[in-house]
């Protein structure tokens, strides 16, 4: 039987506010346990939550970026349950009326663009952490994370494979960083996903019973967990079994999901509107202010790159993988004077040598030792034929290593890398090469075209790559009477 996969994702994006959603404590990661927990975060008797407007503004920014509706009035509710790292005994979240409703995320698939619908996005606070190690049979509680602002982004079950789920998560991950609402750090838990997975016979319209896989904190784990879950469910049904609605946890060590709790164990959270917080009212003026400050979004940018510079879609997508990368590209291009040819040259370099160097150094474009202005100068030396593309790679490496202050022109001058374009000088070099390589000349004359390239290579070698390759070619042809 052919099976169809249905996946919806719930993503928790930690909002990049300096302080918590309901207290003034810092949200910085990695501090000593309980040093960033204010009275509100440890839920002392008598304390009250005060909403951080920065968190609301980030939610609005997200809503506008995905074309959603911003609710002019939304409500904070209490989700009641007992857990040691939940100090109040309830989590403040939005339940019936969230701040953001609807919207879409467009993902690239092998079949082309696909629009994934969003259900909602709501504000809530994170819980603390239970520490089970180092306490000899006891549990430690760290409330530094308690009260950290989260935006929970819920998709419709529009994803049909683990590939699509990962594509969606990556697109969303890039978007929240692009609009500056989340640092996207998955190791620190700033961006984490739960996947709702079900399968059904192809053509069936009724949804199958779903399982929720919790806490997928890397794209690789997400792919593996969903794949495992799909195969588990299909095998179960094909063996005559039934999928039970439950929450499952992915175990990356064993590469499988296992049951955490079934629907029967599901708690009654006794949601009700939090009487400590009046409804969140957002005026049109606030929304317009946020809209005006919203950066150009990656999709619009990709379309512009294709239209203005005739860049292929794949180039446009890569260059807009992050706002930093796009800004780098645009700065290089602006310095080069724009134009489709320069755009392609810059795109190739950024996706090639720059990307490779960044990967090797494991740093982001913002930390690149060769800033956009320097790369632009380097590329303009290619354009004006001061150096060849090949030599440019050496200059780039030298600049990356910080030689001569990272200035390409200084490196070219100091290393004497300026391209040799003098016709007479090149003629003498070619003559020397011909004299020294009689065997190759003979081969060429016997009809071996490859020998010609070998001779060009000898000329380049003789000039340590500085010879203008086009001129060398032309002179050789003339000399060999080809």
């Amino acid at each position: 039987m052919k099976w169809e996969v249905v996946i919806g994702l719930e993503t928790h994006a930690q909002l990049s506010t300096a302080s918590k959603i309901f207290s003034g404590a810092s949200t910085a990661f990695g501090a000593a346990p309980n040093t960033q927990a204010a009275a509100v975060d440890i839920a002392l008797p008598g304390v009250l939550p005060v909403l951080n407007r920065g968190a609301v503004e980030r939610a609005i920014r997200f809503g506008l970026a995905v074309g959603a509706t911003i609710n002019r009035r939304s409500v904070f509710a209490r989700k009641n349950y007992f857990y040691p790292d939940l100090p109040k005994g309830y989590q403040i979240s939005q339940y019936e009326i969230p701040v953001v409703v609807g919207g879409t995320i467009v993902i690239a698939t092998p079949q082309g663009d696909k629009t994934v619908r969003l259900t909602r996005a709501h504000l809530e606070e994170d819980a603390g952490k239970s520490l089970h190690e180092d306490f000899h049979g006891m549990t430690g509680i760290d409330l530094n994370r308690a009260g950290t602002p989260l935006l929970e982004i819920v998709s419709e079950p529009d994803l049909a494979s683990s590939d699509e789920a990962v594509a969606y998560a990556k697109t969303l991950h890039a978007l929240v960083q692009w609009i500056g609402i989340c640092d996207g750090n998955m190791q620190e838990g700033s961006f984490r996903c739960d996947a709702n997975v079900s399968v059904r016979p192809a053509g069936e319209t009724k949804l199958g019973t779903r399982c929720e896989i919790k806490n997928l904190n890397s794209f690789r784990f997400m792919q593996a967990a969903i794949e495992y879950e799909i195969h588990r469910q299909v095998a179960l049904i094909e063996d005559g079994g039934r999928v039970v609605q439950e929450t499952r946890l992915f175990d990356p060590d064993r590469n499988e999901t296992r049951s955490m709790r079934s629907k029967e164990d599901a708690q009654d959270y006794r949601y009700f509107p939090d009487p400590d917080l009046p409804p969140l009212v957002i005026g049109d003026e606030w929304i317009e202010r946020v809209r005006a400050a919203l950066p150009e979004l990656p999709r619009a940018m990709q379309q512009r790159y294709a239209a203005d510079y005739a860049l292929p879609a794949s180039d446009a997508a890569t260059l807009t993988a992050s706002r930093g990368l796009a800004a780098y590209f645009e700065e290089v291009l602006r310095a080069l004077g724009g134009g489709a040819a320069n755009a392609k040259l810059a795109a190739n370099w950024i996706q090639g040598d720059v990307a490779a160097a960044l990967n090797r150094a494991e740093i982001g474009i913002e930390q690149a030792p060769v800033p956009a202005a320097a790369l632009a100068r380097l590329l303009s030396r290619i354009v004006d034929q001061t150096i060849s593309g090949k030599i440019a790679k050496d200059v780039f490496d030298a600049a990356w290593a910080g030689e001569h202050g990272g200035d390409p022109d200084a490196i070219i001058a100091a290393k004497g890398l300026t391209q040799i374009s003098d016709e007479d000088a090149l003629g003498r070099i070619v003559d020397d090469v011909l004299a020294a390589n009689a065997a190759m000349v003979a081969e060429f004359k016997a009809g071996k075209e490859k020998a010609f390239n070998a001779l060009v290579g000898q000329a380049m070698k003789a000039t340590r790559g500085k010879a203008n390759p086009a001129q060398v070619n032309a002179i050789l042809r003339r000399r060999l009477g080809g």
Partner: protein, 497 residues
């Protein structure tokens, strides 16, 4: 001298007839003498009080004294007081030292008042008789075998017994007004949002409001001046310009329209209480007021609505008392769940558990709509009743409670009977409107009777004005209970019917 009102003592301090240290020492001695019988105080901070009194005297010498500087007061033990135990009348917090001051506590401290101690209360402010306290019941100073009312019974008894001239209370369903009524003093519950709830340990967040106890309306106004005001730490605190609540005290009552809802004068009201209220109305008429008939058709729903919403919020508010970070933790437990169960079973008393159970039930899946949501809808109807009524009157008058103080133990086995004592007070909390209770007579048995004045939002100054004018013409507020002498035990008084 020691038993003067806040205003009288302020004048004495200002005139140099007494120092704050002398006054504080005198009242500490009164507390030492009478508290064993009354059980009104759970904490007395002699050292802190005398230090504050010395600072107050220094401020007066330096010419920086305000109207409340050097005046001793007490705080209900539900308000956080930095460095002092804040127990909420519960075993759960019996050894909990507050690390910060509540907003109203800080306001009164900044005004120069001298905090002498913390007063007993029903556990977590849940009760109408002060019998649910972990620290034992408070005795009514008028008759020790009677309750002082609740939940702010300790504050009311302390003020009535002249142990302090003023105190704070909190009122979620009548917890300031009913004890004021039972002990023959004044108590005001302000408009919701006038006094910040920051540092008030929450019972029912949408209903809780702190307010003053004193013997006169004027004193209540003085205290409220220091308690009210916007606080950015409480999102339900109202951003309004500061008011002087004494500004209208002297205003004549001519033209005052007094609303009399039939719902407050029907069956269930004790005849002596009804007679005292009628007499008070007659007095106000003499002072120039006119009586107007108004209707509060949903008044009878206030108690059922209240006893759905308040426990619902309480069940969630009290979840933080889990034994994990502070408060009572059971000594022996087998695992996490066992620790929760034992700590909470041991830490909370029966009434608190009852309300947590009720609240959990009404919020549960499948019952939420029928109870919680329905109650919220009726709450709006109750608020609408008041809005309509205030179109034709300035204040609404009636008894604060259907009876005078009852005997200790008389209702403690029947929660519903106990809850019905709140029948006239809970509506103001549901509507969020201000209300106060002032003494207006005594039963033949010698127990005080309270008159409740309710007003539209932000009408505190008007309520205080009406109360003050009434007190200029009457002397109910000047009557003091005869306290048992230091040596004699709290002998129950036999009262002839």
């Amino acid at each position: 001298m020691l038993t003067g009102t806040l205003a009288e003592l302020a004048a004495a301090l200002q005139a140099g007839r007494i120092s704050s240290v002398e006054l504080t020492q005198g009242l500490l001695a009164r507390i030492a003498a009478h508290n064993p019988a009354l059980n009104a105080f759970v904490t007395v901070d002699e050292e802190g009080a005398l230090a504050a009194a010395r600072a107050a005297d220094a401020a007066r010498a330096a010419g920086t004294a305000g109207p409340l500087t050097g005046l001793p007061i007490a705080h209900k033990d539900v308000l956080m007081t930095a460095g002092l135990t804040t127990s909420c009348g519960s075993r759960m917090l019996a050894r909990f030292t507050a690390p910060y001051d509540a907003h109203v506590v800080a306001g009164l401290k900044d005004a120069g008042t001298v905090l002498v101690g913390k007063t007993n209360m029903d556990e977590f402010a849940m009760g109408s008789s002060n019998e649910t306290s972990f620290f034992g019941p408070v005795r009514n100073p008028w008759q020790h075998d009677h309750v002082p009312g609740g939940s702010s019974g300790g504050s009311a008894a302390a003020v009535a017994a002249r142990l302090v001239p003023g105190a704070t209370g909190t009122d979620t369903g009548g917890s300031i007004r009913q004890p004021a009524s039972f002990t023959g003093i004044c108590g005001l519950k302000p408009t919701y949002g006038v006094c910040s709830r920051y540092g008030l340990v929450a019972f029912a967040s949408s209903l809780d409001q702190a307010g003053p106890f004193a013997r006169t309306a004027e004193d209540c106004a003085l205290l409220l001046n220091a308690m009210a005001g916007h606080d950015p730490r409480d999102s339900t605190s109202l951003e309004r310009p500061a008011e002087d609540y004494t500004r209208d005290l002297a205003r004549p009552l001519a033209g005052l329209r007094v609303g009399l809802p039939a719902e407050y004068f029907g069956a269930g009201v004790d005849a002596e209480v009804a007679a005292a209220i009628e007499a008070a109305i007659a007095e106000l008429r003499r002072l120039g007021a006119t009586a107007v008939d108004v209707r509060l058709p949903n008044a009878r729903l206030a108690v059922p609505v209240y006893y759905v919403l308040a426990p619902a919020e309480a069940s969630s508010n009290l979840s933080r008392f889990d034994g994990v970070r502070y408060g009572h933790r059971a000594e022996k437990y087998s695992d996490l769940l066992d620790m929760y169960k034992k700590s909470r079973a041991e830490g909370f008393g029966d009434e608190v558990k009852r309300r947590i159970l009720v609240g959990t039930y009404v919020l549960s899946h499948g019952y939420y709509d029928a109870y919680y949501l329905k109650a919220q809808q009726v709450r709006h109807l109750i608020a609408d009743d008041f809005r309509r009524a205030y179109a034709s009157c300035d204040v609404i008058l009636g008894p604060t409670a259907p009876t005078a103080a009852f005997r200790l133990g008389a209702k403690s086995d029947d929660p519903v009977e106990m809850y019905l004592n709140d029948i006239f007070t809970v509506a103001a909390n549901l509507a969020g409107a201000p209300a106060m209770s002032i003494p207006c007579g005594f039963t033949r048995a010698g127990l005080p009777i309270g008159l409740q004045l309710q007003g539209d939002y932000f009408s505190e100054a008007r309520l205080l004005n009406v109360a003050h004018q009434f007190q200029q013409a009457t002397d109910w507020h000047r009557r003091a209970p005869t306290l048992a002498s230091e040596a004699s035990p709290p002998a129950p008084q036999e009262v002839a019917p």
